[in-house]
Amino acid sequence: MIRLVVAAVATLVLVGSAGAAGRPVQADLEAEIVCPTCKTTLDQSNAPIAVRMKIYIRDRIAAGDSAGEIKAQLVDQFGPGVLAEPPKRGFDLLAWLLPIGAVVIGAVVVGALALTWSRRRDAATDHEEPDLDPEIERRLDMELERFEE
């Protein structure tokens, strides 16, 4: 009996997760598409064209289109600026790579600077010589000799 219940629950979970992965979610798409007149995502806008686009997305989901297909249709109509995130291909790929490149270059520069400073300090320590007054040095030697006795 327990096995039967576990199997039923597992089946429900699997069916549910498969459905969530395959069928686009209206709210997700509204957060990924930008209203062409107000430049905010659809979920943040009640502009007339944003409302119309929400209806369009709802209708396309009902018709069985995938998220990619719906986005492609909107890009065809309104241009790539309608996507909240630039596509990860072609020239738009730069929008993703440049920040990563900037972080890597920044890390290399900071590392190089840290290494340079570290070497300079070591070099300075190696060549450091006490600059004692000869009289003080003589007294220090005398004190050390007395201490050793």
Binding site: P36, P48, I49, V51, Q77, L113
Partner: protein
């Protein structure tokens, strides 16, 4: 840091600052976004910006704006979701029917809109003048369109004349300027 590295760093920093200042200057000088409408408001008669866009009227195909040179053109920017655009549509159709024999064309530019919605709009209001689809809004910046509807007048030489009409042409405050724009576009000196 060595002296050389420090100098290179300073040069890069100064170059970056100069570059940003140059961008700012360019933006202030040329990038005010007012387009042809701004030049017209400043007293010039700029050449109307050219474009080639697909037609959504019954004719189909593409329309290149510069191919209309020699005709007077009333260019109306609109969208099907814009309420004042619905109110003024019958007036634009009347203008087209009244003046087409004198060589005037009304040209609709359906911008930031679904082309299917635009086509339904034409059918609903019985519009027979040429209308192009500019869903991406590629013409708006060059023409200096700030909202919908907006109407421009282009004379037979392809230059903007009159005033840009913001809001419906059917509104009382716009009627006189609309008539004046048509008169100037047709080249009527009376």
């Amino acid at each position: 840091m060595t002296g050389r590295a420090k100098t290179v760093g300073q040069v890069i920093a100064v170059a970056a600052v100069v570059g940003l200042l140059a961008l700012l200057g360019w933006k202030l000088a040329f990038g005010d976004g007012s387009g042809a409408a701004g030049a017209l408001a400043g007293g010039d008669n700029p050449v109307a910006p050219d474009f080639t866009l697909p037609r959504i009227d019954a004719e189909g195909g593409e329309l290149r704006f510069s191919s209309l040179k020699g005709k007077a053109v009333v260019v109306n920017f609109w969208a099907s979701w814009c309420i004042p655009c619905k109110d003024e549509a019958p007036e634009l159709q009347k203008t087209y029917e009244r003046y087409r024999n004198q060589g005037l064309v009304v040209l609709g530019v359906d911008a930031k809109d679904f082309r299917q919605d635009g086509k339904r709009f034409l059918e609903r209001f019985g519009l027979t003048y040429p209308v192009v689809d500019d869903g991406r809004g590629s013409t708006l910046g060059k023409w200096g369109v700030r909202g919908f509807p907006e109407t421009f007048f282009v004379n037979r030489e392809g230059r903007l004349v009159g005033e840009v009409i913001e809001g419906g042409i059917d509104l009382e405050r716009n009627r006189e300027r609309y008539a004046e724009g048509i008169r100037l576009a047709l080249g009527d000196s009376k």
